[in-house]
Amino acid sequence: MLRKTLMLFVASFFVFSLGLLNLAKAEPVVKVGVDTTFPPFEMEEHGKVVGFDVDLVNAIAKVEGFKVEWHTMDFQGLIPALQTGTIQMAVAGMTITPQRAQVVYFSKPYYHSGQSILVKKDSPIKDLADLKGKTVATKLGTTADIMLSKMKDIKVERFTNIDDAYNQLQNGGAQAVVFDNPVNINYAKTHKNVHTVGKLLTGEDYGIAVSKQDPKLLEKVNAGLEKIIQNGTYLKLYRKYFGDDNAGLITK
């Protein structure tokens, strides 16, 4: 009996210390929320999460020494998830706004963007003023939604996914889509019957959102972002996804 108890004690001590060792050696895991319906910033290909934002966060994680666990969810659910601590970070082409900054932290900007109007090639709509009296589709909870909601005489249809908004344009339910310019451009590349019109509306910066429960993580993200801008990784990633179009480039 004494022998058995002794062996049990030694075995559990062994397992326990192995566990401790693992804990000490393992990199912290950060849960990052992402909405993979926002090409070319985040998409899903063959079950894997890919895109500019994804590569960006992976590069920052590598240089700051933490592991990333990707959690896909709807865009409108990202900030609530950060508020409850379900995820520690979120990256989703998310514009830094004062309202959002009240409930989450934002990293320094990593991309400069703006909204644009997408219409069918035979549409009479040429700029923002022409949207009066029309039906415009966009994505729920985004800065496009916020901007359109403030305008008068426009019927706004809000969808959970931007694909549904694009479909609405294609089948005639909406006469235009207003959304982040890079995503519109990306869509127009593969759909020859639409194009963007008018000049770039609003000027907005994308930031990585960090849960307010984790201020240390914010410091790491900003430090990592700074490092990859300095060592050229950021520029390399930018060129990979946006080529020579410098509109979104953050210049320091």
Partner: protein, 225 residues
């Protein structure tokens, strides 16, 4: 503590607007679905093979698909082959929502009405025929009124389900109560307060319907055979 609930009062008009839309869609769908249910129930108990088959196919399809899929199909799939947005401009969104919900609820109501009718003993029908009543008169004056009493509890159940199912219309951008909740939260980030307010409003609506149903049951004395 009042500051915590402020966001509810500030957005109450929007929530009420959503609740009104929820009520609107619920009432319209209940009416259309009951109408459909009555027609297809009579089809299913008909001796005519074409009517019978039509009724069976209708119930199989619309009970056999998730409501969300039915909504997506009518709203996103069909417009790709038919210019539905042009035909019904600018009402295709509400029409699609009402259609999808009514077809789905109608399939369940078909079965409720059919069960109610079949539960009335053959003796009633035979007695009616023996004094020279036509099939129509029998159904209209003898069978259906008696069946109706039996159908009240399951029908009210289905009507409550309909109110809840209207929340799925949020996915085709119909601004009913659930969607209003999502919209308000997307700018205020007050998930706890807003979802609580939405839940309370739904409970109030369904509680009222249950109260009406209790009144109907007492009025028609359905606990007495």
């Amino acid at each position: 503590m009042g500051g915590f609930f402020n966001v509810i009062w500030q957005n109450l008009p929007q929530l009420i607007y959503g609740a009104k839309l929820t009520l609107f869609y619920s009432v319209v769908v209940i009416i259309v679905a009951t109408f459909l249910g009555l027609i297809f129930a009579l089809f299913k108990i008909s001796h005519n093979p074409i009517f019978k088959k039509t009724g069976e196919v209708y119930v199989h399809i619309f009970r056999g698909l998730p409501l969300l899929v039915e909504i997506f199909y009518i709203y996103f799939a069909l417009p790709m082959i038919l210019p539905l947005h042009k035909w019904f401009h600018p009402y295709f969104t509400p029409i699609a929502g009402i259609l999808a919900l009514s077809l789905n609820e109608g399939a369940y109501i078909t079965e409720i009405i059919r069960a109610g009718i079949l539960s009335i003993g053959k003796g009633q029908t035979e007695a009616a025929y023996s004094i020279g009543m036509t099939k129509y008169k029998t159904m209209r004056y003898i069978i259906l009124p008696q069946a109706f009493k039996r159908m009240i509890p399951p029908l009210v159940n289905q009507f409550i389900q309909t109110i809840k199912d209207t929340s799925l219309l949020s996915v085709i951008s119909i601004s009913e109560l659930t969607r209003q909740g999502q919209i308000i939260i997307s700018t205020t980030f007050a998930s706890l307060q807003i979802w609580t307010a939405v839940a309370v409003i739904y409970l109030a609506m369904i509680f009222t319907l249950t109260g009406i149903s209790g009144y109907l049951e007492r009025r028609f004395k359905i606990d007495r055979r």
